[in-house]
Symmetry: C2
Subunit: 383 residues, 2 copies
Amino acid sequence: MIGEQYLLLPGPTPVPERVVRAMSRPMVNHRGSEFKEILINVTEGIKQVYHTEHQVIIYPASGTGALEAAAVNFISPGDKVLAVSIGVFGDRFATIAREFGAQVEKLDFPWGEPTDPQVLRERLAQDIKQEIKAVLITHNETSTGVFNDLAAIRAAVGEHPALLMVDAVSGLAAVALKMDEWKLDVVVSGSQKAFMIPPGLSFLAFNDRALRIHQENKNHKYYWDVSAGLKYLEKGQNPYTPAISLYYGLEEALKMMLEEGLDNILIRHQNYREMVRAALKEMGLNLLAADGYASPALTSVIAPQGIGGNKIRQYMRERFNIVLAGGQQKLDDVIFRIGHLGYVRELDLLAVLAALEIALLNCGYPIELGKGLKKAQEYISSI
Amino acid sequence: MIGEQYLLLPGPTPVPERVVRAMSRPMVNHRGSEFKEILINVTEGIKQVYHTEHQVIIYPASGTGALEAAAVNFISPGDKVLAVSIGVFGDRFATIAREFGAQVEKLDFPWGEPTDPQVLRERLAQDIKQEIKAVLITHNETSTGVFNDLAAIRAAVGEHPALLMVDAVSGLAAVALKMDEWKLDVVVSGSQKAFMIPPGLSFLAFNDRALRIHQENKNHKYYWDVSAGLKYLEKGQNPYTPAISLYYGLEEALKMMLEEGLDNILIRHQNYREMVRAALKEMGLNLLAADGYASPALTSVIAPQGIGGNKIRQYMRERFNIVLAGGQQKLDDVIFRIGHLGYVRELDLLAVLAALEIALLNCGYPIELGKGLKKAQEYISSI
């Protein structure tokens, strides 16, 4: 099949040509002045994306690594932790905390729904002795395509002293997040999402309150130790060899993001959500996430009964070289997911929606070609 | 200054154009068939380089990450561990094991010398109750430019049941290592050395004996857990998002390595060592490592008294855009290090040696230009 693959996953996302070219530069000494300049630049850039003036450590690791780093730096063995979960990645954060010795209490919400801040508020109100040391929460749940309203979550935590620790791996820059304004204590993110670079870097941001708790932390750590990270950052270095080519890409991607404007990027992703959802609804499809908390980064579609998500994905892949994500765990074959995250154009989504209508028709779903697509066109035409 | 920088570090090493181009390919689904094929390919290729038929896990992390993985998968808290050290990286492996709860006994040798297998043999002979669970050792000590004879080390360990765990991050493929033949139980390596790709991937190989010990292991682990790694490897996946672009580079680099021939690569590096050492000796310089155990991957040069290594490095950098490594910790300014590892040509080394003579002369060291260089030319001419 001629032409490039359409990769519409909620990560890894397509990498812009500018970023690819930046990543092609020759290696430099990771203890030298060129790398120091890059490290300072990208650390400042990431802080802008996080809307924070606090600390950021960059790991040569994927997002799961920075989640582990959050657990081992800010949770001590035996600590009570309230892990809020609305899907696979909420569960993963809870599992990691438990593996490193936390007493984890899960607060689960049905898959496809966001966290109800009121339930969280009530649970924390019962913790009269303030034994809960941390609240873990997902910013954008990739497995369901639902985001949590972190400002409301912060309000629900209120004056409870638990650290608010956020997995923003797939959400940061695509879904609103203001670390300092919303008093988020620890925020994790990764490179292969809205940052538009290949996987292999992840980011751990934390404020002074978290840093003080880190200083008393009793978990074993070496690779993830933020004290070592901060010490070397002062010298413009990483404690061990950093993933240099990905830093080149990150520097260029941050430049692109700041050129586009962080607010514009959020609006762009909201528009993707709106056009995709309008089209899918018109096709008669049911969406897993209701309006109001559907993710701007991806859309989860409930596959028509008797067809299944995987058959549709296979058709899209074999006929059009379009890669969509499947459902995870209990949602396997129940849903398919369209990523509209990072370096994606309206044009790409129009093409994908057009192809999807064809796929549905040929998989035995009764549909009038062009009907859903027209809704997407109308939405684009209106903005 | 026009032209490319000469990067002569013991990692990161120059990246071949073929590898750069491979890394520029678009992203794919890390849970899809394209990635599965790459993962199977590179895992097989790495096994060939290790000379092993056992297991290899690839981490999105730098070499230090895979050292941590070795510690948390194969050493339990409270285990007695004998950490042999001949420099900075031997110390680092010991520190990591201690951080994760091992009772570490150091067996130190002077910096610039290799491990004396007889001393190791005698220490293990004293361990009548066989309480030592693991022996940690460095393959190629990057801080001093000395390699350990792992076949002799294996013979010294003899029938003692301790796991033999090797940090081969900077040595693998440049210095002989036969994992299965030498019964090395755990071997760690990294991408930014003889593998010729940018930093960001590391490799952990282990045999069945190590796997059985892993299954009883009591350390906390998630990101580094080899059980999860093996389980997903069967599906052609990584437990979490892999660093896709670096895999592309690794696949191409392995192709190049197998085309050149693994034995030829070892000989090439030995020739680099011989030509560089012949030239430096003729310049009247003292070398930290004596003949017989000097690393084929890098050469540590004792800076002339009153000049210091850093002044020479600065001259090389500013006048010629040649980057050499400095001494680490107590060797700072005492030595400088010339990396001749990975994608380096004889031509590059001739140019660097010629420049070094000029640097030495201009830093106040009496030298006849061309004298040392001639020895390198003669060596090349003779092979």
